[in-house]
């Protein structure tokens, strides 16, 4: 069904399409430029020039590696929640909190009425899509994750803030689709964290996407998905993108026993380790996923965004994903595109 939808949208992909989850590392010059800009020591125009340069680099690099569905690499974004909080009304900046090890992020505060001011990601998506004939995903952070990863002061409860966010993010998704985005990924890494809230969290996702003419992917990671597995069946998206290598492909048994009836993007390289895994390991992971889910349902990608890796590490990880997909495709004897 999902493949048919892609075809209707005019997208032909090979068996086991490859993609990446969203963020890619910023080159050191861009990291430095962002710090200078924060101190007012660099013009916004110069920063934009460097961001565009880095975007071109990553689009070309993904094409060169043979990746099927591209991303713009989010060279202009910092944190995935902070970026949307900065560009919508109703948020104010928060302080630094730790996420793991020595990693910290600025957790925004939902302080008032949330409002979409106008397109946030559309112009960046359109300019990156112009660089390539391959499909390039529109990338949004989902309503539940934005709510959950902000401090909540301006709404009485979690559900009302999430519902409001869904309505506002729908306007962004609609703007992306109107601009020509055929595949839109919504990142909801927080969605598994409170099983008792999954019902209305999915309602919010539905409200943000229903009726929009695009193939929707939901990315989630580092959670306990077996706890909400049965709920995932009513997930209102075409493709569920899961981190799997970090969790030893634990979910494959469930996916085999109780198929979800949608495409599954399988994370086959660890986004948080510096070492690039051997082809044999990555290929083995992909083969296990294909056996469990079926080749017509599987996409291959890294576990998560690669922004915490170096440029060289990220390229290495994407390369091994692509090579693993090619090897598995070869053994399946597949033609270049799905018929």
């Amino acid at each position: 069904m999902s493949r048919e939808k892609l075809k209707k949208l005019g997208i032909e992909l090979p068996v086991i399409p490859t993609t990446s989850v969203g963020s890619l590392p910023k080159p050191p010059a861009l990291v430095k430029a962002r710090a200078l800009r924060r101190r007012g020591a660099l013009s916004s125009r110069e920063l934009r020039r460097l961001e565009d340069e880095a975007t071109v680099f990553w689009v070309r690099k993904q094409e060169e590696l043979g990746i099927d569905v591209l991303v713009d690499g989010e060279q202009y974004r910092g944190d995935m929640v902070e970026y949307f909080a900065e560009n919508m009304d109703g948020f104010k900046p928060g302080g630094l909190v730790r996420s793991y090890g020595n990693r910290f992020y600025r957790k925004p505060i939902i302080s008032g009425k949330i409002r979409w001011r106008g397109p946030i990601t559309v112009e960046r998506w359109a300019s990156a899509q112009k660089l390539t004939a391959r499909p390039l995903k529109g990338m949004l952070t989902g309503p539940y994750t934005i709510m959950d990863w902000c401090f909540l002061e301006g709404y009485p409860d979690r559900r009302s803030a999430t519902t409001e966010l869904a309505g506002q993010l729908r306007r962004e998704a609609a703007a992306l689709v109107k601009a020509g985005a055929k595949i839109v990924q919504i990142d909801e890494p927080a969605i598994s964290t409170r099983p008792e809230e999954v019902g209305w969290a999915f309602d919010a996702l539905r409200a943000a996407t229903e009726g929009l003419d695009a193939y929707f992917v939901m990315h989630c990671c580092y959670g306990e998905f077996h706890r909400i597995y049965d709920e995932l069946r009513r997930l209102p998206v075409d493709n569920l993108d899961l981190e799997m290598s970090n969790s030893n492909l634990d979910l494959l048994a469930l996916l085999r026993e109780r198929p979800l009836g949608r495409d599954i993007s399988v994370g086959i390289v660890d986004a948080h380790s510096r070492a690039v895994e051997d082809l044999a390991i990555v290929e083995g992971r992909l083969r296990r996923a294909v056996e469990a889910v079926g080749p017509e349902r599987v996409w291959a990608d890294p576990d998560c965004g690669l922004k915490t890796r170096t440029v060289e590490e990220a390229i290495g990880k994407l390369r091994v994903v692509q090579r693993a997909a090619l090897e598995v495709r070869k053994s399946l004897g597949s033609s270049p595109a799905v018929k």
């Binding site: 928060g94 302080g95 793991y100 090890g101 964290t193 580092y222 970090n246």
Partner: protein
Amino acid sequence: MKLLIANNSGYPRIGDAPEEQELRRATDAWEDKRKSDGELEDARDAVARKVIAEQLEAGVDLPTDGQVRWHDPVSHLLRRSRGVELGGLIRLYDTNFYYRRPLVKGAVRHREPVLLEEFRFAQEASAKPVKVALTGPYTLAALSLDRHYGSRRGLAMRLAAFVAAEVEALAEAGCGLIQLDEPEILRPSADWDIVAEATSAAACRRGSAKIALAASWGDAAPLYEKMQKLDVDILGLDLTYSPGLPERLKAGSDKLLALGVVDGRNTRLEDPRRTADAVGRILARYKKPFAILMPSCSLEFVPRSHARRKLALLGSVRARLA
């Protein structure tokens, strides 16, 4: 009845001001091999002293060392034990915080105290008694991947012995209050026979130290009677997640209570008057010599400036109840 103010467990190791980010910079430099192990340890010591001083300035009677040396509350305890390897990152319950999941591949052995030196250092830096919080055996077992014991009971009891060794070392060194963090017991799947057995085993070598069992991030109201039967001295309760709990608490408590009345997960500051009223109602029939007011969980989930304010707010609540 005396009201004491305690920190719950963690405290932010960095703040927003550049001078509050020494440890972040030092750790970055250590990771890039620009600082030695000794230099990193010096930076950790300096930050531990600062966070203890901040807690004392905020009016806390029972500070912690903020767990500023820890990667996370799970892997820190088990990182050097035999039989355990650290695996990939996984989200800690419903937080946006990640821990390294222990992979239990062999018999877990307690080699040497993990927290003893941290406690000694903190106690030297504090004019008031230092409390130590560590993850309890049931939660440690639930958050580990067991490839050796084959049963939750087997792993939990082995980890209870591990925790008991930590408790014993801390108690002998003079730590008077040791908190076992057990969020897992609030999960619907918790096996209370194992919870009770493991808690008792973990606490059995406490000497004269008081053992608190703290359960955050879930509704403790339906489990309150079961918690009262556990072999601990103090119950630490997260009132931000348990709307029905104050009603249960009005009936009194056989155990000392540590009430998590300010939300350690959100920046919204509680109203001191309303909070004081709520605490007053809860403690109306409480007959113990003291109770503790504390944040609902580790303060590492809020920015440092808010952590300071949350602790100071507890002082305002106490003043209203005086």
